[in-house]
């Protein structure tokens, strides 16, 4: 059965090998250049004055390819699931060949597992090769990036788990739906759904997040709830994965999320002409935006913050002695999390496989 499954899969194998060769060549040529650039110019530029501009120039080189590497890494498992997993069983139902296959002298379990094994192996190998090449290629950029967690999904070993899960999911959906095109679409979108769910709700909890409390001090760096400068000073560290950034009152009451005040950090967005009723009932601070002139009253015009008014507002806020509570995963846990996530997807794949075997025998 393994021989025959391979024989059926031969074309796909050749296509995949061809694509990987092309990718390898492109990555190889550009990657070597990038690595060389990085090693000679960027790595040790801290001693030079123009380090900042050199670094940002480097970071925007080969921009298109950077996007391809990231997007490719995200999309590849979904594509494998849709193109390799979904047709695996669905096509046999559509063409009626299951009536030939199920009346040979092998059980349906053997038949299904033979097909699964071939496609799973191919997906794992393809994904492993692509991810290895992509990880190597992106190393210079990753060195300059803040957090290794930002590229988590397309690096190292988790994509292998995604690929395995995607083809397993595709095969299971194909088994249930029995129409190839419908199975392909369904696989693509349900795979995306599972990925989003696991990334947002499971990954943060692979290990209990660490907590760090610090004083909430205005002025703050950005107006969009980004990582405040407090973080870089002895807290989670620049490379950490910040899960939550909650603002607390002096007594510990929660008054804001996402690095600001209010549920969306709306401290950063002011209504014009009103004094800010800030701090969840703790008090009032003056606005940083001046009221519009009388002849423009009633119109929505954003004049822009006045530096003196800004300082007055910030002094007022700091007088309440607010705190920032960070929950985060340190960069040191990157590899642990990679293994946990890989294991999760492998377990899901195993469950789906068992379900598929049970289902195919029921018919």
């Amino acid at each position: 059965m393994i021989w025959f499954s391979w024989r059926q899969f031969r074309t796909q194998t050749i296509v995949a090998a061809g694509i990987l060769v092309v990718v390898a060549i492109v990555f190889g040529i550009t990657g070597l250049h990038l690595h060389h650039q990085y090693d000679t110019v960027v790595k040790h530029c801290a001693s030079h004055a123009d380090c900042g501009s050199v670094t940002s120039a480097f970071q925007s080189s080969d921009h298109l390819l950077q996007h391809f590497v990231q997007a490719g890494g995200i999309l590849l498992p979904a594509l494998l699931g849709a193109f390799w997993g979904a047709p695996l069983v669905a096509r046999e139902f559509e063409s009626g060949t299951f009536r030939l296959a199920w009346t040979q002298s092998v059980s349906r379990t053997t038949w299904l597992m033979g097909k699964f094994a071939v496609v799973a192996l191919a997906a794992v190998v393809t994904s492993a090769l692509f991810t290895a090449m992509a990880t190597w290629w992106a190393t210079p950029f990753d060195h300059l990036n803040n957090s290794p967690f930002s590229g988590f999904d397309a690096r190292d070993i988790v994509p292998i788990g995604y690929a395995l899960f995607a083809v397993t999911l595709g095969a299971a959906i194909g088994l249930l739906v029995r129409r190839t095109v419908a199975a392909m679409a369904l696989t693509f979108f349900s795979f995306a759904g599972v990925r989003i769910l696991l990334t947002d709700y499971v990954r943060p909890h692979f290990a209990t997040p660490l907590r760090y409390v610090t004083a909430f001090i205005a002025p703050f760096q950005s107006s969009s709830g980004g990582a405040p400068s407090a973080i870089t000073k002895g807290g989670p560290g620049a490379n950490a994965w910040i899960l939550t950034d909650t603002t607390l009152s002096r007594t510990g009451k929660v008054i804001g999320q996402n690095g600001g005040i209010g549920p969306n950090g709306e401290f950063n967005v002011d209504s014009i002409g009103h004094h800010r009723d800030v701090l969840g009932g703790l008090g009032i601070c003056p606005n940083r935006f001046p009221s519009p002139p009388a002849h423009l009253a009633g119109q929505r015009i954003n004049i822009g913050p006045n530096p003196a008014m800004m300082r007055a507002m910030e002094t007022c806020i700091n007088s309440f002695h607010l705190q920032s509570l960070f929950t985060y995963q340190p960069a040191s846990r990157f590899w642990t999390f990679q293994w946990y996530e890989l294991a999760s997807y492998v377990v899901l794949s195993a469950l789906l496989t068992s379900l598929s075997v049970w289902w195919v025998r029921r018919r």
Binding site: Q8, T11, G96, T97, T103, S105, S107, R363
Partner: protein, 306 residues
């Protein structure tokens, strides 16, 4: 509905036994309360109009469907996923599915890989006799060639029981003849029981020695062809005459002067008022098909409360 079995002598084993076998889908009943005992070592013809349940019955026998109620046994055991059972039965589905992208050779190798009883010499000889190019992709074969390939795969597996679902329906007369030639040669050569379904009575007449007539999802009658032909007659008599006693009337038609009946009887027709004629298989099948349809409509009328 009464399902009648007419035997042709002692049948020690049955290749396919069903007991009140029913298969229902959401909206329709594909097979209704079928009880059969097909003798082994025969070529059994399953005849009936399209949609009468032939494909359903054969798929059930091949283990590709499971019954809604009732039971069936193939070669003494319920159809199952067990390779030991699967190697004893071969199935050629309607439209003879093959893997279009793979070659003839690939299909034969597939058979060799997965079937322990595979007869490699037989397969190779058959492919050669058919003049098939082993490297030809199966999708490029003609309909006749595809069905011959499917038959080769089924035969080289050396089964005890061969199930064929309308194997020649879509073939031209020459391809049909060639297919049946190969099939009959195999039956003569190996000891194998065959069930094949067809809506062409002429083919069934040629190759089958036992038939089952399936109409509107029910078995109308089943039995040895010779026995059926011996026990069914056409009776011609005057318009107002009563049907002779002891006969079961299958079909009747009248002109203003004459009655013509097709009857089943267990003994000779003694009534001198009737002219007795033999009947051929086609007319017998047609008579039962007509009866089946009438009964079906009669049942529907009753259920609508009229």
């Amino acid at each position: 509905m009464l399902s009648v079995l007419l035997g042709g002598g002692p049948k020690l084993t049955s290749v396919l036994t069903t007991e009140a076998l029913t298969k229902r889908y959401r909206r329709k009943t594909a097979l209704n309360d079928c009880t059969l005992a097909l003798p082994e070592g025969r070529v059994v013809g399953l005849v009936g109009p399209n949609g009468s349940g032939k494909t359903t019955l054969l798929n059930l026998a091949a283990g590709l469907l499971s019954p809604t109620s009732g039971s069936l046994k193939v070669l003494g055991e319920a159809p199952s996923d067990d390779p030991k059972h699967l190697e004893r039965v071969s199935f050629v589905a309607q439209d003879t599915p093959v893997y279009s992208a793979l070659t003839v050779e690939d299909h034969v190798s597939y058979g060799a890989h997965v079937n322990p009883r595979w007869d490699r010499d037989l397969a190779e000889r058959r492919i050669e006799d058919l003049g098939l190019d082993p490297r030809q992709r199966a999708g490029k074969l003609s309909g006749g060639q595809r069905s011959q390939l499917a038959l080769t795969l089924a035969i080289a597996k050396r089964p005890e029981f061969l199930i064929l679902d309308e194997p020649v329906a879509a073939l031209d007369p020459l391809a049909r003849r060639e297919f049946l030639q190969v099939l009959m040669e195999t039956v003569a050569d190996q000891h194998v029981s065959v069930v094949l379904s067809s809506h062409l009575v002429a083919d069934v007449e040629r190759v089958c020695d036992y038939i089952v007539i399936l109409v509107s999802s029910r078995v109308q009658i089943a039995g040895d062809v010779d026995d059926l032909l011996a026990t069914h007659h056409r009776l011609i008599g005057p318009r107002d005459a009563d049907a002779p006693t002891g006969q079961v009337v299958i079909e009747s038609s009248y002109t203003d002067r004459q009655s013509m009946l097709i009857v089943r009887s267990d003994g000779p027709v003694a009534d001198p008022g009737w002219l007795v004629e033999a009947i051929n298989l086609e007319d017998l099948v047609l008579a039962y098909m007509g009866q089946g349809r009438r009964l079906d409509r009669g049942v529907s009328a009753d259920s609508s409360g009229s």
